[in-house]
């Protein structure tokens, strides 16, 4: 059970503070913040999500720069508390539309209303956005969503892509369209985070896809929904190493290593026709999480060369090739590479006619940064950097630099080939035809090329 719950701003101010059992001394928020801020003297290391100070256990998760914290003196299940904190953040977001320090401060009374019902005397009562609706009487005060840090994977749809009805994701579950009628719509997002490590010779050392089918429903009357996935989808790679690529290549089937489901999902016909049936609760929630180590074609190939070029000088050449169809565009691409510690200067040379590209040498942590607003499928981009050193390098220069890492977002593209074949909404009336949005996106989780 939980003793206290509070939300701290980045500066350590209490935004919300609720004490459920008065077992923990009052100064806990102060103690917590000081501990997190000065975890290690050098400030290098992050505090773990759970720690104990004088018999009090502090749990925290970071959401949009805010610290959601719970304390207890009891030896509870850490996953339960951390899961709960994350869930509280999601419920608050469902109600406020956007989660930020500003929206929390403006709506703290509503937040207290929620907190009173979510936890009573330290025991979780409910985290269902839907159930909570009947206990909430305050109207949310909507804040401008323009310059907000995104929350959750679905928020990437807000990043300026006009095709996406971005505002819908920042709508409160309590909000009504002007005119009093709620807009009937449902969002299904297939979000895949990919991790790839290339060896220095360009061969794939490890690769993994962590995917989520995320849903957010604004349908009235709780209709049942059927979600059909690829028919040739199979789960579990029975026996042997799951990294055994040979077993899968060529067959074309989508093979998941494992997956889990939201509790509302019924799997009655899943084994037969790969259909998920559910009555979606209000608010945003993951229908299914899946994990895949089946071989896939990485969206980018990275080539990196670092060579000494005379005394106290070296040249770095980074090539990035987009290996996806040309009707797809990756955006917000950033390529980073740590340089030798004794690098003092870096001058960059982009290819002629480069648009929307940015280069930077981060003096403080000796890092090269190359930002590309857009990369169109099939294209290749090159960066040349001339480095100046303050001392002669004794050892192999490739041991002093790298690896090259990359972050990107590719909308309307997924590497696993997992698909939502159709989205069926069970409702009698023939005139009922709500908006259905099925969106795909691929993001880099850890995309690294060693040199």
């Amino acid at each position: 059970m939980i003793s206290q719950f509070f939300v701290l701003s980045q500066r350590g101010d209490n935004i919300v503070f609720r004490d459920y059992r008065s077992e923990v001394a009052k100064g806990s928020a102060e103690i917590f913040f000081r501990k997190v801020k000065f975890w290690k003297e050098d400030g290098q290391e992050e505090a773990p999500p759970v720690f104990n100070v004088d018999g009090v256990n502090y749990f925290h998760v970071k959401v949009v720069g805010l610290l959601f914290v719970a304390t207890t003196r009891v030896n509870v299940s850490p996953s339960l508390v951390l899961e709960l904190l994350q869930r509280i953040a999601r419920v608050i977001k469902d109600y406020l539309g956007v989660l930020s320090e500003d929206s929390l401060r403006k709506n703290f009374v509503l937040v207290y209303e929620l907190l009173d019902e979510v936890i009573d005397f330290g025991y979780v009562q409910t985290t269902s956005t839907e159930v909570l609706k009947s206990y909430v009487f305050n109207e949310p005060i909507v804040v401008d969503a323009a310059r907000l840090q995104p929350l959750g994977p679905a928020a990437i749809f807000m990043q300026g892509t006009k095709r996406m009805p971005g505002t819908a994701v920042t709508k409160s579950v309590l909000a009504n369209e002007p005119g009093g009628r709620k807009r009937e719509e449902i969002f299904v997002d297939i979000i895949e985070k990919i991790s790839v490590t290339f060896s220095s010779s360009g061969y794939i050392l490890t690769s993994e896809i962590d995917g989520t089918i995320q849903m957010k429903s604004y349908l009235s009357g709780n209709p049942e929904i059927r979600l059909a996935l690829n028919e040739d989808l199979s789960i579990g790679r029975g026996g042997g190493s799951i990294y055994d690529y040979r077993s899968s290549s060529g067959s074309g089937a989508v093979i998941l290593d494992d997956c889990n489901f939201h509790e509302s999902v019924r799997l009655d016909s899943f084994d037969m026709d790969r259909t998920l049936a559910l009555v979606p609760p209000d608010g945003e929630f993951p229908v299914m999480n899946y994990r895949m180590t089946q071989e896939f074609k990485p969206p980018f190939r990275i080539n990196c060369l670092i060579e000494e070029a005379g005394q106290l000088k070296a040249e770095v050449i980074i090539k990035v090739r987009a290996e996806f169809p040309s009707n797809i565009t990756a955006n917000t691409v950033v390529v980073q590479m740590p340089l030798p510690k004794y690098t003092t200067r870096a001058s960059f040379e982009l290819e002629p006619g480069a648009v929307g590209q940015k280069t930077d040498f981060k003096e403080a942590n000796k890092k090269l940064e190359w930002g590309l607003k857009k990369i169109v499928g099939g294209s290749e981009h090159t960066l040349r950097a001339k480095l100046t050193f303050s001392q002669e390098s004794h050892a192999n220069i490739t041991k002093e630099a790298g690896p090259v890492s990359m972050t990107f977002t590719i909308p309307m593209y997924n590497v696993s080939r997992l698909q939502v074949k159709y989205l069926q909404i069970a409702k009698k009336s023939s005139s009922y035809n709500p908006y259905r949005w099925v969106r795909y996106v691929t993001q880099a989780n850890s995309y690294v090329a060693r040199i």
Binding site: D13, D257, N365
Partner: protein, 840 residues
């Protein structure tokens, strides 16, 4: 909500400092209190919001209590809720004013809107004012019977709140049995779950004084109740499912078919997206199959995939919690995970607390088939920008090397580290090479060649420097420059700040001297002189000791300082298996994240409500029947003990008298006046008599290290029944019911440790002190005992759990007693008895 602390931080300009704003609010609230003007509720809302926001940021607004209560006569539910929040927050510090609120809260408890009834009841129970409890009983009673499930849910938690304010009022009103009835009959599963939480807390607290509560608590893990919960598990919310599953882990099924039934029923819980549900299910599976080795193995295989999925979905915090559990499982059964090693590779953007866990997992799963890949991966991290992780990675490579049979490839890698010319890499690698050589002396040639090239000037970290010096001493015959490097180190004695390094330097110079005397002689002289003059006690003592033993006999000195060494086969494990098992028993709790059992970080009263001594059943039932002893023997023992200490005292005195030395504080020249002196010393053969003499001296030293014998002159008043009897079931029952009266750590005498080769030795000894064993188990160095004793001519029992680790010579003792007031007296008896163990 408790009154927030007065903020110590300097207020940021946007935050008002308090005083004037609060009095301003007071005035405005007063004006509104009586007003019936239209729109007054809106202005009240604004004011209330202000009050609550001040409360949140830590400004004391308790002075507004009266005004707030006056304004609370309203039908506006938003206002009401804010008022409840405020009242709940400040009632505790204003008990008199709180009385003012009782009226309107009680009235609201009868409101026709169930929402208002629920809210009012919750606020009423949250006042936490002891002298108001009489007003709670009525509303709670009707709340529990309310037709609306929301009100009942609130009332159930209200009962628990009442129990914490006044346990007797709660029990007298017979609320626990009402809750029990609800728990078994209410159709709403959230009410069932709340009843379960409340009753677990209440009965656990009552169990120490009430037989009935203990029985009731026991009944929670009875078959009918567990099945009642399990059969409707899917109706519970995900959070309540965790609660139920935790309870199920304590249930002991009667046979294996029951176990399989439960596991089949819960199988699909492993696919839940909520990590807490999955981990709770995993715990059930692991606990149920503990005694079925094959099935237990299959469980590991089954839970692997769901856990890995949880690690990769969810926030970094959530995956950390799951990963910690996976870490525990990997360390317990590395072979199950050996083909999954790639999942434990670190990603560049992971926080270091995750990377650290992964490195340990990689170390654990390394075996003949995957070592090459793992070590290659670890070597990549060694060049990482994250220096602490780079260090850990090198250590991991070293650990793998120490646990493998074929270290060929790894040695090469380690030596490459030495050539990387990053000072921290060199430092870590040196320490590793040293450990490696201690285990695999056959590699000395390859390693020494590389180590010899390292300039000692580039090594600054004490641990690394000590390692380098150790190698210089140990392999001085193979390293051309060893004496000269050591000599230059000795020359810079004063600049060496680490005592550890200076100690190693002394020893290394000695070793080098035995192997290459002419080249080292002057360095040795300088080192001993510097050492004797050292301000650090250990360094001084070691130097003096070397000096004396050299003077006495050089070949004895060589035998002492540089004896032939056996390769180390296994490096000591840092955590005992006892502790590891305890952590495993506490699966799905903080113990796993902290990597220590809960007694190390929680206070007694906050241990879980249902913490039973389950392990009792796993131990063999001892020979409790053989409790025949003679009180005469006890007395004899006492005399013996007295005698031996007296004798020891004497011997110590005499040996002290004989040892008056003149300490040579003069320069090195006088320490070693001439070469001939040393040569004659070397030619002196050792006599057997000398070494015997020395070992006698050491025995004596150990004798002095004995723990002080408790004062025998004033024996404790408590008398124990020499023929006590207690059947194991009764013991188990009592052990579960009674709270721990005392828990402490006792030391064992060295003789005691020596005699404790099998548990039976201690059993017989304790029996002679009227303390009987009911169960015992374990193997050296860890033993576990359950003892009991009875008061003389009274049916009052003492129960003891005693965990002894012979390597640390410590005993962890937990005492439970029927009569708590005498537990201290019993504890001293127990301590006395234990301290005499092993003495003749």
């Amino acid at each position: 909500m408790a009154p927030p602390a007065q903020s110590q931080r300097s207020q940021s300009p946007s935050q008002p400092s308090g005083k004037s704003e609060v009095s301003d609010l007071k005035l405005q609230l007063r004006q509104l209190a009586g007003s019936r003007a239209p729109g007054v509720d809106d202005s009240k809302r604004e004011l209330f919001k202000k009050v609550i926001s001040y409360m949140t940021i830590g400004i004391d607004v308790s002075s507004l209590f009266g005004e707030m209560v006056m304004c609370s006569a309203t039908s506006d539910i938003v206002l009401k809720k804010m008022c409840y929040l405020y009242v709940g927050n400040y009632a505790k510090v204003n008990p008199d004013l709180a009385l003012l609120t009782i009226n309107f809260l009680q009235r609201d408890c009868h409101d026709e809107d169930p929402m208002i009834r629920g809210l009012a009841l919750r606020s009423l129970c949250s006042l936490r004012v002891a002298n108001l409890v009489e007003y709670l009983v009525g509303p709670l009673g009707s709340g529990l019977k309310d037709s609306n499930s929301y009100v009942r849910t609130v009332a159930v938690v209200g009962v628990l709140k009442l129990y914490h304010i006044s346990a007797s009022t709660c029990v007298d009103a017979d609320f626990p049995s009402t809750l029990k009835h609800l728990m078994l009959n209410d159709p709403d599963t959230q009410i069932v779950a709340n009843c379960l939480s409340a009753l677990e807390e209440i009965w656990s607290a009552e169990a120490s004084t009430s037989e009935e509560a203990a029985r009731e608590r026991e009944a929670l893990i009875s078959k009918p109740f567990i099945y009642y919960l399990l059969n409707r598990i899917k109706e519970f919310s995900e959070w309540a499912q965790c609660l139920v599953l935790e309870l199920v882990t304590k249930y002991v099924p009667s046979d294996s078919s029951e176990i399989f039934d439960i596991m089949n029923l819960l199988e699909d819980r492993l696919q839940h997206a909520n990590g807490a549900v999955v981990l709770a299910t995993v715990k059930v599976f692991l606990q149920l199959t503990l005694s079925m080795t094959d099935v237990h193995q299959q469980v590991y295989e089954r839970i692997k995939a769901p856990l890995l999925t949880l690690v990769s979905s969810g926030s970094p915090e959530q995956s950390y919690a799951v990963l910690s559990h996976l870490h525990l499982l990997v360390l317990r059964a590395p072979y199950v995970f050996s083909s999954d090693y790639k999942h434990f590779y670190c990603q560049y953007n992971e926080p270091s607390y995750v990377k650290r866990l992964k490195l340990e997992m990689l170390t654990a799963v390394a075996n003949e088939s995957n070592t090459y890949e793992i070590v290659t991966e670890l070597c990549e991290y060694a060049a990482n920008v994250d220096i602490p992780i780079a260090r850990e990675s090198i250590r991991a490579v070293g650990k793998i090397a120490l646990q493998q049979y074929d270290v060929n490839a790894i040695v090469d890698r380690l030596l490459q580290f030495l050539e990387m010319e990053k000072d921290y890499v060199t430092a870590e690698a040196l320490v590793l090479v040293k450990d490696l050589l201690r285990k695999y002396p056959q590699w000395s040639h390859d390693c020494i060649a590389v180590v010899g090239n390292i300039s000692s000037k580039n090594v600054q970290e004490p641990k690394a420097k000590a390692a380098l010096i150790w190698m210089l001493g140990e392999y001085s015959q193979d390293m051309q420059d060893a004496p000269y490097i050591l000599e230059s180190l000795v020359e810079n004695w004063d600049e060496e700040h680490s005592a550890e390094v200076r100690l190693h330097l002394l020893t290394a110079v000695m070793k080098c001297f035995f192997k290459r005397p002419p080249e080292t002689q002057s360095a040795l002289g300088a080192a001993l002189a510097a050492g004797i003059g050292d301000f650090h006690q250990d360094v001084h003592d070691r130097a003096l000791f070397y000096y004396r033993i050299l003077r006495y006999n050089v070949s004895v000195a060589e035998q002492v300082v540089n004896p032939p060494k056996q390769a180390v086969s296994v490096f000591a494990d840092t955590q005992s298996s006892e502790i590891k098992d305890r952590i495993f028993d506490e699966f799905n709790s903080l113990s796993v994240l902290y990597q220590k059992p809960s007694y190390m970080f929680t206070d007694k009263e906050h241990r879980g409500p249902l913490e039973f001594a389950d392990e009792l059943g796993n131990l063999s039932i001892g020979e409790a029947a053989h409790n025949v002893i003679s009180s005469q023997r006890v007395e004899e023992n006492d005399k013996d003990l007295l005698l031996t200490t007296a004798e020891k005292e004497e011997t110590r005195g005499s040996s002290n008298n004989g040892s008056v030395y003149a300490v040579p504080y003069d320069s090195s020249t006088s320490v070693f006046a001439s070469q001939t002196q040393i040569e004659s010393a070397i030619s002196n053969p050792t006599t057997a008599g000398h070494s015997q003499h020395a070992s006698f001296g050491i025995d004596d030293l150990l004798g002095l290290g004995m723990p002080a014998v408790p004062d025998v002159a004033s024996p404790p008043q408590l008398k124990l029944n020499t023929k006590a009897a207690l059947d194991p079931n009764a013991f188990q029952q009592k052990w579960r019911q009674l709270p721990v009266a005392l828990s402490q750590e006792l030391s064992l005498s060295p003789q005691g440790v020596a005699s404790l080769t099998v548990p039976q030795a201690l059993l017989r000894h304790m029996q002679s002190h009227s303390i009987h064993c009911i169960a015992s188990g374990g193997q050296s160095p860890n033993f576990k005992f359950f003892f009991f004793a009875q008061k003389y001519e009274e049916p009052s029992n003492y129960l003891v759990e005693c965990i002894i680790n012979t390597t640390s010579a410590k005993a962890q003792v937990k005492i439970k007693a029927d009569d708590q007031s005498t537990s201290q007296a019993f504890s001293s008896l127990f301590e006395l008895a234990l301290s005499k163990f092993g003495t003749p």
